[in-house]
Amino acid sequence: MTSVRYDNATRTYEGTSVPAVDALDLDIGDGELLVLVGPSGSGKSTALRMLAGLEPLDGGSIRIGDRDVSNVRPRDRDIAMVFQNYALYPQLTVADNMGFALKQAGVPKEERRTRVREAARVLDLEPYLDRKPKHLSGGQRQRVAMGRAIVRRPAVYLMDEPLSNLDAKLRVQTRTEVVELQARLGVTTVYVTHDQVEAMTMGHRVAVLKDGVLQQCDTPRKLYHEPLNLFVAGFIGSPAMNLVPVGDERPLRLGGSAIELARPGDAALAEISGAITVGFRPEALQVGEGPLRAKIRTVEDLGSEVFVHLSLEHRGQPLALVSKMMPPFDGEPGDSIGLQIIGATHLFADDGSRVVSTTATLQAASAPAGVASDASPAAP
């Protein structure tokens, strides 16, 4: 049973005043694959290195299993780490790289050899055991780094952006392999990435960090559908959620249209005061028929889906929106086209926290006569 627990863990680097990781509270279950995600500089690596013992704690504690490891040396924490640049020992062969930790632990040569072979078989590395790392491709090096970790059978795996040096196609493929391997071995794993797609596809749960502060830790589904705040809402999902500041007037308006909320939304709205931000995902924004008109800026046709980038006048300023449509879509840049909201809509309060998730529709408003009747839009 190996769970991991960050308890109020804080790290402030020498010569800086703001903590790189600030009072992190995180519980990672036995056998769980937890992904730490956030933009560059958000403290993901620092959080991982604190767990590895490569960074000391300036506050709080970290437990692995039921042992407080806050003051335990890295080599006594029973962990294995995969580094972004793999950190393979250049002068050692693949086999010696993978067997290095066992050798340090004094495991007899015979057992070492069998365990390295076993791991090499799992990772398809058998033909390369006698090669030096520099004679391997990027993907093979990545697998050696994984192999070095799994040979150990540690209590926890730590991975810091292990796929970010692979090309896009290999990255997607390896992603699946890592997930399968982790499921098979059932070892608790903390996985760091800046790529929210990787996070959403791999993590049992995903912890979102920003400026060293944990924003939300939830299953991918909950993160997507019930983001706790504006940051998570904007960070998770691609293209990003449409976030529209609507100020403090009521009813809420998008461009010239009123936003009519379903009942729970309306009730919640009555409770809050101050400026509000309305969020709805690209797939909740329907282009074609609709009471609000916008101009098409660009159309990205990916074959399986089409992203339509739109621009409209909102509160006296141009506002950019994205819609995700099913193909075929025939609109051209420059076309004027109707908009409607057809899915979940989130309201965020002044402080960025989500107040309510509901559904909304756009109501035709007192648009100047004539505008609604120009150029018939291309219907999907």
Partner: protein, 285 residues
């Protein structure tokens, strides 16, 4: 190792490059010529050597026989060579043994105030050699170390140590931090990190550092002649014993100088092979 012709850079003029190349060769040859002349002289008779410059002569090994012949009461080549070898090897070994952990503490896990430490090391080089020789001589005399190899071993260790620490520190800093961290997580203590990661990866740098220590200790003359004029004298002192006040000695001195040069040239050659092999290993990436 042949690198083939150097790649041509767009926009560079071949004639200008050629002119600079020629100049480099001329300067190089000008520097090398005296050495060449010394080697040539060492195979001549004294008469030929002292005559007006002469390129064709009957080569002979007699001068080498002369200078390596031992006369009782005089410093012999064998004795000087042994003294030098012991002093050079022992002092270099001590330097490396002390400098490697020091460089680790400055490069890989910097101690507090490592800048001050580094400055302290180099500050020991500020004092002019002539200014320090008297106190050192008095110390050596009172410790009964005059005319012993021990005196030179201690002295050369002290002189080479700061430089070695500086050099090794910069070589150690080139080792990616993740490699050492990976080794640490994989269970390697200081000894494991040193023997499996740091020393193999820094081998070219260590070879270069050792070479510099060897060269300095082998060539050092000033302290040696002050502290060990009678016993424990080293090769540079022996070379000067071939200067005589009577008769010609140019050919003999040339032969002695060539013998004094061979070990350092050899050491340089060996170290160079080690360095190239280390670099070719692709130490970093």
């Amino acid at each position: 190792m042949s690198d083939g012709p150097s790649p041509r850079v767009v926009g560079e003029s071949r004639s200008v490059n050629g002119a600079f190349g020629l100049l480099a060769w001329v300067v190089g040859l000008a520097y090398f010529f005296p050495v060449f002349w010394m080697v040539l002289n060492s195979f001549k008779s004294e008469l030929d050597a002292n005559a007006s410059p002469k390129l064709f002569f009957h080569p002979t090994l007699d001068r080498y026989r002369d200078v390596t012949k031992s006369t009782t009461g005089l410093l012999s080549f064998g004795e000087a060579f042994t003294n030098s070898a012991v002093v050079v090897l022992v002092s270099t070994l001590i330097v490396l043994t002390l400098a490697i952990p020091a460089a680790y503490a400055l490069a890989i896990r910097p101690v507090a105030k490592w800048r001050d430490v580094l400055f302290f090391f180099i500050s020991t080089k500020f004092l002019p050699v002539v200014a320090s020789v008297l106190p050192i001589w008095i110390l050596a005399k009172n410790l009964n170390l005059l005319n012993t190899r021990m005196a030179l071993i201690i002295l050369y260790t002290g002189i080479n140590l700061p430089l070695a620490v500086w050099m090794l520190r910069s070589f150690f800093r080139e080792i990616p931090r993740e490699l050492i961290e990976a080794a640490e997580i994989d269970g390697a203590g200081l000894k494991g990190q040193l023997t499996s990661i740091i020393l193999p990866m820094a081998a070219p740098g260590i070879a270069a550092t050792a070479l510099l220590c060897v060269i300095f200790a082998w060539n050092e003359f000033f302290y040696a002649v002050q502290l060990n004029p009678v016993q424990g004298s080293t090769v540079p002192i022996w070379v000067t014993t071939n200067i005589s006040t009577r008769g010609d000695f140019l050919a003999k001195l040339s032969a002695a100088s060539v013998l004094a040069c061979i070990p350092v040239v050899l050491a340089g050659w060996i170290a160079q092979k080690r360095m190239i092999r280390g670099l070719a290993m692709g130490a970093i990436k």
